[in-house]
Structure formats: C-alpha cells, structure tokens
C-alpha cells in the first residue's frame, strides 16, 4: 500500500506541469463539436505532439515518451488540472491505437500511429448500425473480397466526431453464413473521404454535430487496412472495447479537476447548504475513482490482465459524471438553464459538460449491458432472460 510517487515520477510530473503552464491556451478553444473548434483542437494536438506530450505512454518511435501507466495517470492529472483542452484525437488514441498495439502489424503501427499522435489524421469509430446497438454482433454492413482488398457496403451510425474526422475503423460481415453472429466479422480501417462514402452529420441534444451517420457504397479498402485476421474481427473488437470501458477512456485526472472546480464554484456561490452533500460526494467520487484506478494500474503492472472489472469503471464514471454536472447546474440556480456559451468565468463549460455527460450511460456499451457483465462475470449469477 503505497501512494507516494518515485522521485523520477515526480520529476516527470513537474516537467509536464511546467510545459502545460507555458502552453495551455489562455482562452478556452471553441467547442470541438464545431468545424472551427475541431480545427483549433487539431492545432493543439500538433502542439502537444511537437514536444511528445500527445501520447506519453506510447513508444518514442511513434511519438510518445515510453512512459508507463502511472506516469500516464500523473500526466492526465496535470493535464486536466491545467485546464487544457479536450482531446479531439481520443477515439484514435484510446481505442484504435491499443488495438493496433495488440493486433496490428508493424507496418500498420508505423504508418498509422505517428500522424494520429500529431492530430493530422483524426479517427472515428464505426461500430454501431441502425439495427445493431447493444446487440452489436447482429451488424449487417458487408465486406466483400475484391482484387487486393475489400469492398465495404452498408450503413453505420452514431459515429462520434465523424462529421469532421478523416478516417474510421469498424466491423464488417465478411462471411454471411456463419452459425453464430459474432463469427465471420472483419475489422477494417477506411477513409471517410473515399469514393462511395457519404457522411451525414447528426445533431446531438444541443444540436451540435457531435456524431454522424455513414453510408457506404462499395468503398474500396486495401488488404493492408485489415486489422488481425479476416473473419476474426470480433475478438479484435472486444479488446478495443475493454480499453474503452477500462482505464483509458476516462482518466481520473479529468474528474479530479472537475470536482475541484465544482468545489470552488460552491465556495464562490456562498456555500449553498442545499447542494453541500452532493458537492462533497463529487469530491469523494473523484478521489474514489482515482484510487480505484491506482489499484487497477498496480494490478496491471503486476501482470494481471484488465478483465470484466472494467465494467465497474464504466458504470461508475458515467453516472458520476452526470451527478457532478447536475450538481453544478443546480448550484448555478436559474443560470443553470442557460446553454453553453451564455455564461463566463467559473460558470462556463458546465452546460456543455452536462450535455456530454448525459450520453455516458449509453455509449461504450450501455450501463444495462455493463451490469449484465458484472452480474454474470464478477458475481457469477446465472444468465437469464434479459
């Protein structure tokens, strides 16, 4: 049981802090769910990457700093404490990259990772389909063999950031007549501007085009863009899903910073007695999530694989995030009704954060699905009628 960081880790933290203090934009960037904001965020990713801060845990060869999980956690704590911008490259960095590290070829890693680290190629995840949500394995988009590659057809939906992104990765049915739905799937990457692709942005609750529908009509993908073995895509995808729910999608640093800002807001707003307990719970929750993650990281460093425990994580942070933002809006009183951008200073950002948080229990596998995983795989309860 040790919560102290080695002098080397502390030096790393200090270096990160100094860099962030010197570089974090003085004024917040525009929302990354707008064309203007997306471009500004790409610029920020490039600035991070120039000094190897965009993907600290990756090998140096791909633009990282080769540093372990603990330093990644420290970096994230510093990053969000400094009020640095949200990461537009997150789908690629935290979902596709780990998949390529586990299942990709050396050629794919060398080709794909460096431009991802620099924000030059921003990735979207194309898993869901209109008829395949929680039951993802029922997906119907096809990959048909052709000379030197595959032809993709079908429809994908709810693809985050696809309105402005460059490329996408997803699952396609390459063998239509398998006995089980999760067999015969192939994991592929494709260009969102390739011939045959139509991207239709979809407005989320506040109208911003945060995700998109993709229509694919015989889109050519070369063989080199298949990840893992053709027909075995489900297994590859499930390792990505583990990353998504597990350690990397929501770093504790983000919630520590948000809880700190919430406590400050509460203080500034006269220590409102009606929200006091919920503010305290936000602070407690951030600490719980940080320490839970430290324990998970310690197990990981001991060589244990991240298993179904990541479902505990996912439900926790998604519900926590909503509670935190709801508390902030309640604390703002009538101003809590105002949409993002109508407020300034410490009051700013809560509205957009709230809208974003509302989707947490839905994406990355709904919380109902996560609770089923917890019940069956962690508690050993019998499968049943769902």
């Amino acid at each position: 049981m040790d919560l102290t960081h080695s002098p080397a880790d502390q030096a790393f933290r200090a270096e990160a802090r100094a860099w962030l203090d010197a570089h974090v934009p003085a004024r917040p960037l525009p929302s990354l769910e707008t064309a203007e904001g997306f471009a500004a965020h790409r610029g920020w990713e490039a600035e991070l990457a120039a000094d190897h801060w965009s993907v600290v845990s990756w090998p140096a060869a791909y633009g990282g700093r080769d540093c372990g999980l603990v330093r990644w956690l420290l970096f994230e704590e510093e990053y969000y404490a400094a009020g640095a911008p949200g990461r537009v490259g997150q789908n690629g960095v935290s979902l596709l990259a780990p998949t390529l590290f586990d299942h990709g070829t050396e050629e794919q890693r060398a080709r794909i990772l460096p431009p991802m680290a620099r924000g030059e190629v921003v990735w979207a995840q194309a898993w869901s389909e209109p008829e395949a949500g929680s039951d993802l394995a029922s997906l119907r988009s096809r990959a048909v063999r052709t000379d030197g590659g595959w032809l993709l057809s079908g429809q994908k939906t709810w693809s985050s950031r696809a309105a402005f992104a460059d490329r996408a990765f997803g699952l396609f049915r390459s063998e239509p007549d398998t006995p089980k739905p999760h067999q015969g799937l192939t994991y592929l990457m494709f260009d969102l501007r390739a011939p045959g692709v139509t991207v239709r942005p979809i407005g989320r609750l506040d109208g911003k085009p945060a995700f998109a529908e993709l229509f694919l009509d015989e889109v050519f993908v070369p063989d080199e863009d298949v990840i893992g073995e053709p027909g075995r895509g489900w297994r590859v995808a499930m390792s990505t899903a583990g990353n998504e729910r597990g350690l990397t999608l929501r770093s504790p640093g983000r919630f520590l910073a948000s809880a700190g800002r919430l406590a400050a807001l509460w203080h500034e707003r006269g220590r409102d007695p009606f929200t006091r307990d919920r503010v305290a719970d936000a602070v407690i929750g951030a600490r719980a999530y940080q320490l839970f993650t430290y324990a998970a990281a310690s197990r990981f460093l001991d060589g244990e694989a991240l298993g179904p425990e990541s479902s505990l994580n996912k439900v926790f942070w998604s519900e926590y995030d909503i509670a935190l933002h709801e508390t902030a809006l309640d604390l703002l009183g009538v101003d809590g009704e105002l949409a993002d951008g109508e407020l300034a200073g410490a009051d700013r950002g809560w509205a957009e954060g709230y809208v974003f948080s509302l989707a947490g229990p839905i994406y990355a596998g709904t919380n109902e699905i996560q609770r089923d995983i917890i019940a069956e795989r962690l508690l050993g309860l019998p499968k049943g009628r769902r």
Binding site: T4, E78, D281, A288, L291, F292, L312, L379, L381
Partner: protein, 378 residues
C-alpha cells in the same frame, strides 16, 4: 506507487477470516445481544492473539503499531463476520492515549489493550453521547467539556502537570475500577437497532486523567481512527451482505428459475458491487494518508455502500430477510447503525469540504495535492 495489499497483509486477512469462519460468530453475536458477553470475550481474545488490537498500540507499550493499513484489513474481516463488541472503540481508546504527554496513561492502559486483556470503550466529541457496550467493557474513557471544579480522585493519574479542571475545559475521564473489571450491571443500556450494539450513557464520576488542549487534540486524532475503523468495518458488513445475497438468489427459485437470473435482481446486485468496490480504495487510501478529509470520505462512501447493499439484500431475500431469526439480520441492522456511528454522513461530508468558520475553509489546493495527499480541493 503500488496501491495494493502485499502478501503479508492478504495472509493476515485470510487467517482472521479462517478463525472467524470456524468460530460460530453468529452464536456469539446473539448471546452478546442478550447481555451475555462470555462467548464474545472468548472471541475477543482469539482476535487479540492474532495481533489485531496490538496494531493500534505503539511498540513501546507492547503493541505492533500504530499500523492503520493493517487495522483496516482487520476491520474489514471483523465486519464481514459481524463480530460484536467495542472493537472500534478499543482501537480509538488506544489512539487517544497515544497522544503527546500521556505516556503514563499509555503505560497504564495500553499493554492490556494490545494483549486483548482490556476491552475499552470511549465517547469523544464528534461521536455522539453513548459509549458502546458500556456494560461489557473493562474500562470506559470519556472526553468532554468538564463541569469545572470537580474533585480529582487520583491526582497522580493526572498527566498534565497542572490539570486543574476549569469550567468548559476539555477533560478526559476514565471510569470502571480496574480492580473489578468483569463486574457489570446494565441498567444504563439503551437498545440499538442493532441488538449487538449495547449503547450506554457514560458513567458518572470516575477518575480525571487529564484536561486541556492536549486532550482536545488527542480526541480529534482519535476520531480519525474511529472513523477509519468504522469505515473498514462497514465495508466488511457490505461485502458480507453482498456475498450472502448472491448465494441466496442463485439457490432460491421462483417461476421455475433461480431468482438470480432476473435482470431486475442482477442489476441491483451489480450496483451494490460497484458501490462497494469504489468504497474499498477510499478506505485503504485513508489508511495510507490518515488525512481527516480522506478518512471522512471513506466513512461516507463505505457506510453508504454498505447501507445500500443492506437495502438490496433485504429486498432480494424477501420475507426471510425481514426476520430476526435468520442470520442476515446481524449484518442488516449493523449497516444501519454504522452509518450514524462516529459522524453522520452529513458531518463527514462537511469534513470533506473542510470546515472551520462555518465550514468555509476551502483552501485552493496546490496541484501537488491532487494526488497522494489530502482530499479537499477547490
């Protein structure tokens, strides 16, 4: 940074678990509740033999501690087995007497605590007016504001050189003559919702042991230990409730299938699991830092998680869960009681946000403190 129990700590938990599993603890709980502490006392000395109370006592007084992490490990197990008695209070007393300037008191009382000979109970500011198991404890410590001008029964025992009791000064009293530790009468006992918790108002009179700011500071320190041990105990109570309920819903059938195959049942248990698994690191994190805000956070999270699990356990057991005969009740009632013990959820939440002038002190924490150290942030 390696935030996990080491092998020795895990082995310690396992031996305690094995001891308590073999000991028919529920029977000891039931006789303790009925006012017969013999079986509970026997259990107490076996727990003491494993070193549990010695963990709260410094080495110079024949202890092994203080070692908060190991104590937290132990209290999770004590909670999992619903062990009765003033466990938290004994550990808290040890911490109280370890404060600066109290060496003669420590010498007098702590070796007995470490060995398991002395069962102690205590009342402190911030912990409510009752002493737990006042009828079964050998010694009772009470810290409170003195009425002023009281006679000091044994001047030698007063450790503060000039401990003259002043009106409004914080005083430490001990009662229950050590000469006849096992003679008890229990008219003062007030029934708790948890029958195994025998609450009593402190005895009048006794011996004044000390007075002044030192005692006040020692009591504030001791409160942290009370909250930490209660949090760990509550976590154990919650884990036991979850385990027993999971086992029950696998085996109880309705409509031709195990109750545990219904999603409404499975999801409630998943939520209990989430709450407990996120309380656990708070408990151990608090044991590592012993920061008052961390400890208060652990108390809130562990007690709320245990209480929510108790509600779920009761619901999923159906009517059998609502009976005093069925052993589940031993944990159900304790989960409720521990929520209020040693600081209500509201008091602990106030501590998390920092108090002072009307819990206004909310320091802008330097970035260093965002990890590792204390919890308060702004």
């Amino acid at each position: 940074m390696r935030f996990l129990l080491d092998d020795e700590q895990s082995d310690f938990a396992r031996s305690l678990d094995a001891l308590l599993t073999a000991a028919d603890t529920p029977a000891a709980v039931r006789s303790w509740s009925a006012g017969d502490p013999a079986a509970g006392r026997a259990l107490w000395s076996r727990i003491a033999d494993l070193g549990v109370f010695a963990l709260a006592v410094p080495e110079e007084y024949e202890g092994l501690g203080p070692r908060p992490v190991e104590l937290a490990v132990a209290f999770v197990e004590l909670g999992r087995h619903a062990v009765p008695g003033p466990l938290v209070e004994t550990v808290t007393s040890a911490s109280l007497l370890t404060g600066p300037g109290l060496a003669n008191l420590a010498k007098r009382f702590l070796p007995g605590v470490a060995s398991g000979e002395t069962v102690a109970t205590v009342a402190l500011p911030g912990g409510g007016p009752y002493v737990l198991d006042g009828d079964a404890a050998d010694v009772e410590f009470v810290v409170g504001e003195g009425p002023g001008a009281v006679a000091v029964s044994d001047a030698d025992a007063v450790s503060d050189a000039d401990a003259v009791s002043e009106a409004g000064a914080v005083e430490l009293w001990v009662s229950a003559p050590m000469a006849s530790p096992r003679v008890r009468h229990s008219p003062r006992v007030r029934r708790s919702i948890d029958p195994a918790r025998r609450l009593a108002l402190p005895r009048a009179g006794g011996e004044l042991l000390g007075t002044g700011p030192r005692i006040a500071a020692g009591a504030a320190d001791a409160l942290r230990w009370a909250r930490l041990a209660t949090a760990a105990q509550a976590l154990g109570v919650g884990l036991a409730l979850l385990d027993r309920t999971v086992a029950y819903v696998k085996q109880r059938s309705q409509f031709g299938v195990p109750v545990g195959s219904f999603q409404a049942v499975r999801h409630r248990l998943a939520d209990a699991k989430i709450a407990l698994e996120f309380a656990r690191p708070l408990v151990f994190g608090a044991a590592v830092s012993m920061d008052p805000a961390d400890v208060a956070a652990a108390k809130v999270a562990a007690c709320e998680a245990a209480y929510a699990t108790a509600r779920t356990a009761l619901q999923l057991h159906g009517a059998i869960g609502y009976t005093a005969e069925y052993d589940l009740s031993l944990w159900l009632t304790k989960a409720r009681a521990l929520r209020s013990a040693w600081g209500s959820p509201g008091e602990c939440r106030a501590e998390v946000l920092g108090h002072g002038d009307g819990f206004g002190r909310l320091p802008r924490v330097p970035r260093d403190d965002l990890s590792g150290g204390g919890l308060r942030c702004s």
